[in-house]
């Protein structure tokens, strides 16, 4: 059996997997019956439905012909890695990482780090424009979020303000 549509095949598998996972989780809660639905009733029904739909999609992916095989194509590992890393580092700057005892480094440091890391996700990386962008963003964010909107963020590293 040839996979006629790669995209559909894998999405079908994904739906089946997620559906089964939710259904399995839901069966752990009280189900109840129609008149008195427990917490597990609706999620179980939906999980089963999703798994069923997933199986249909996978089946179609094996049977219905497509022109070019609907390939998924290469995964963009580099952009994925850098964007997510930038986000995670920013989160660590704002909230600190209690697990390793890192205190929050603050918004400004976070913005610089995020910009520097995220810019690596593109094709070219030139330090000076990136630094200018980071400074602009830091300034803008400070004005908009801290001064104007008075949001509560740690702005400077906790090591200095504590």
């Amino acid at each position: 059996m040839k996979i006629q549509s790669q995209k559909d095949f894998f999405s079908g598998l994904m739906f089946m997997g997620v559906g089964v996972a939710f259904a399995w989780g839901a069966s752990g809660y009280t189900l109840g019956d129609g008149a008195r639905m427990g917490p597990g009733y609706f999620p179980l029904a939906l999980g089963v439905l999703l798994a069923f739909l997933g199986s249909i999609i996978t089946f179609k992916a094996l049977v219905v012909e497509t022109v070019d095989g609907d390939k998924i194509g290469k995964l963009a590992w580099k952009p994925l890695f850098f964007i997510i890393l930038a986000n995670l580092v920013f989160g660590a700057c704002i909230g600190g990482l209690p697990l390793i005892g890192l205190k929050p480094l603050g918004l400004i440091v976070g913005i610089y780090l995020l910009t520097l890391i995220a810019s690596n996700a593109g094709e070219e990386f030139a330090l000076k424009p990136v630094l200018i962008l980071a400074t602009l963003l830091a300034l803008l964010s400070y004005l908009a979020f801290i001064v104007l909107l008075k949001l509560q963020f740690p702005v400077w590293p906790a090591y200095f303000t504590a």
Binding site: G38, P39, I83, L133, L148, F153
Partner: protein
């Protein structure tokens, strides 16, 4: 004639210099908030609520209302320019609006959104003023069974939103419904799917999913293409205003959207979002004129109709608030809070006990709409400039604003981790060719659907036929089946494939 007397009273109140200033500040603040992706009117109103203690009640409510509308307008701007739905009601605007921006028609898209919203706002205000009392009668007829069937209809309609595989769209809706299940079950207090993580007992935030899937997923996907293949925004921006052709197309769409939005907004329970989806669905069903861009590729009607619908819906959603005291969504709940602080009990007596408040508010809504269009239309030129910024400057900014926006909802870094997770998930969705918009609708409606299903069955004591024996509910379900049949029929199916042939 009583209507005109009341409106005159209202305008008298609203047109005082002080109240106009407050309306203006509210609109300005609201638009700024709405434009920043991730920060919405809910957070803003919550923050500004204490500031309004000192203001007289009418002024406070006028300002808060201004913020609410401003945020909706601003939210549409980001949806069109950057493909980020900042509000649940902008999810639909993203679909055609962003495509229009990519084709160099961001100006007409923004103008269509603005003008459609303004028109709908005016009509909505009139309806509010004229029909507040009789319309609540209608709302009373809707019991849980009717709501459930209405949502089924809405979800089936949402399938039409997907331009790709029908069954994958349905699967995405169900996935969205399931994601909505995460959190504490209201009826039993059981924390579902929370893996003992306290933050998950409140469920996954809408903003988190929206930012992750629409924001990060899209950015990662864009970066994976080489600069030449990347679908950059067309270098030539063709004009700021819609063409005469555009206007001709827009007008019926706006009228339909307004009608739909006015009706659905009255139902307590968030009519504005459903109205936007429903309006888009209906537009899609109408025949395309020769030479019109297909839906999903930048059809101006796909922007004008949902925008009109959600604005009309927001206006008429004041009806259950002002007449019954039932807030249709979280923002309105805050307004109820504001009223209570000023010793006003929202409910049927507001109209008679505080007429200048009621009518003053209505009049200021109209003024707010006017101010917004005056504020925003000239600014379109500035917004367009934003699109000419090279992508390598734009995308780190989007990553930053998403992270900040998400953090500001709960001041909890947990949300930032979740956005990262959904960014990865969003990218996977794009690679697998599954559409995120149906997922978001399912997510919003999931908990509500479960609630209504439960209540309906509780009231009927476990009798499932209640959905068919109650006439309104049966009618809605029949409409859903009809819609499904129409979409699935082979001949229509062939035309559908034809209409949505991509590359």
């Amino acid at each position: 004639m009583e209507l005109f007397d009341n409106l005159a009273l209202g305008f008298g109140v609203a047109f005082t210099f002080q109240n106009l200033i407050y309306a203006f500040i509210g609109c300005l603040l609201g638009t700024l908030i709405g434009v920043l992706p991730g920060i919405g009117p809910l957070a803003t109103i919550a923050m500004l609520l204490p500031a309004t203690y000192a203001l007289p009640p009418v002024a406070a409510l006028i300002m808060l209302a201004g913020i609410y509308y401003g945020a909706q307008y601003g939210g549409s701007t980001t949806a069109i320019l950057v493909n980020l739905p900042g509000e649940s009601s902008s999810v639909v605007t993203v679909i055609d609006g962003y495509q229009m921006a990519r084709n160099g028609r961001a100006g007409p898209a923004l103008a269509a959104a603005g003008m459609g919203s303004f028109f709908a706002g005016c009509v909505g205000t009139l309806i509010l003023a004229a029909f507040a009392a009789p319309l609540t009668e209608l709302a009373f007829k809707f019991g849980p069974a009717e709501y459930f069937s209405l949502m089924i209809l809405g979800l089936i309609g949402a399938v039409v939103l997907a331009s790709g595989s029908l069954i994958k769209a349905v699967a995405m809706i169900v996935l969205g419904l399931l994601l909505g299940m995460v959190g504490t079950d209201v009826n039993s207090g059981v924390a579902r799917f929370s893996f003992d993580i306290p933050e998950l007992t409140d469920g996954i935030g809408f903003i988190v999913i929206a930012m992750g899937v629409f924001g990060y997923g899209e950015i990662i996907h864009n970066l994976s293409k080489h600069a030449s293949e990347r679908e950059v925004f067309a270098a030539s921006v063709t004009g700021l205003m819609p063409t005469k052709e555009d206007f001709k197309n827009m007008v019926p769409a706006v009228l339909r959207g307004t009608a739909l939005g006015s009706l659905l907004g009255i139902l307590p329970g968030g009519g504005a979002v459903m109205a936007a989806f429903a309006a888009y669905t209906i537009e899609k069903k109408t025949k395309l004129k020769p030479g019109e861009v297909p839906f999903g590729k930048g059809n101006i009607r796909g922007v004008a109709a949902p925008e009109a619908a959600n604005n009309a819906g927001s206006q008429t959603s004041f009806i259950p608030l002002l007449t019954l005291g039932i807030p249709p969504n979280a923002v309105m709940a805050l307004m109820v809070g504001a009223m209570t602080i000023h010793n006003i009990q929202p409910g049927p007596q507001v109209m008679t006990a505080n007429p200048e408040l009621f009518w003053g508010l209505i009049a200021s809504m109209w003024i707010g709409n006017l101010m917004l269009i005056v504020l925003n239309l000239p600014l379109i030129g500035i917004w367009i400039k934003l699109l000419t910024v090279p992508y390598r400057w734009l995308f780190p900014s989007i990553v930053l604003f998403c992270a900040i926006g998400v953090y500001s909802t709960n001041n909890n870094t947990w949300d930032i981790w979740m956005v990262a997770l959904f960014g990865i998930i969003g990218y996977i969705f794009i690679k697998l060719g599954t559409e995120p918009a149906p997922l978001l609708l399912g997510f919003i409606l999931g908990p509500m659907m479960e609630e209504y299903l439960r209540r309906a069955l509780l009231l009927s004591r476990g009798d499932w036929s209640v959905f068919l024996t109650r006439p309104l509910s049966a009618g809605l379900l029949a409409a859903s089946v009809l819609l499904l049949v129409v979409v699935l029929m082979p001949s229509i199916k062939a035309k559908r494939e034809e209409a949505f042939v991509e590359d």
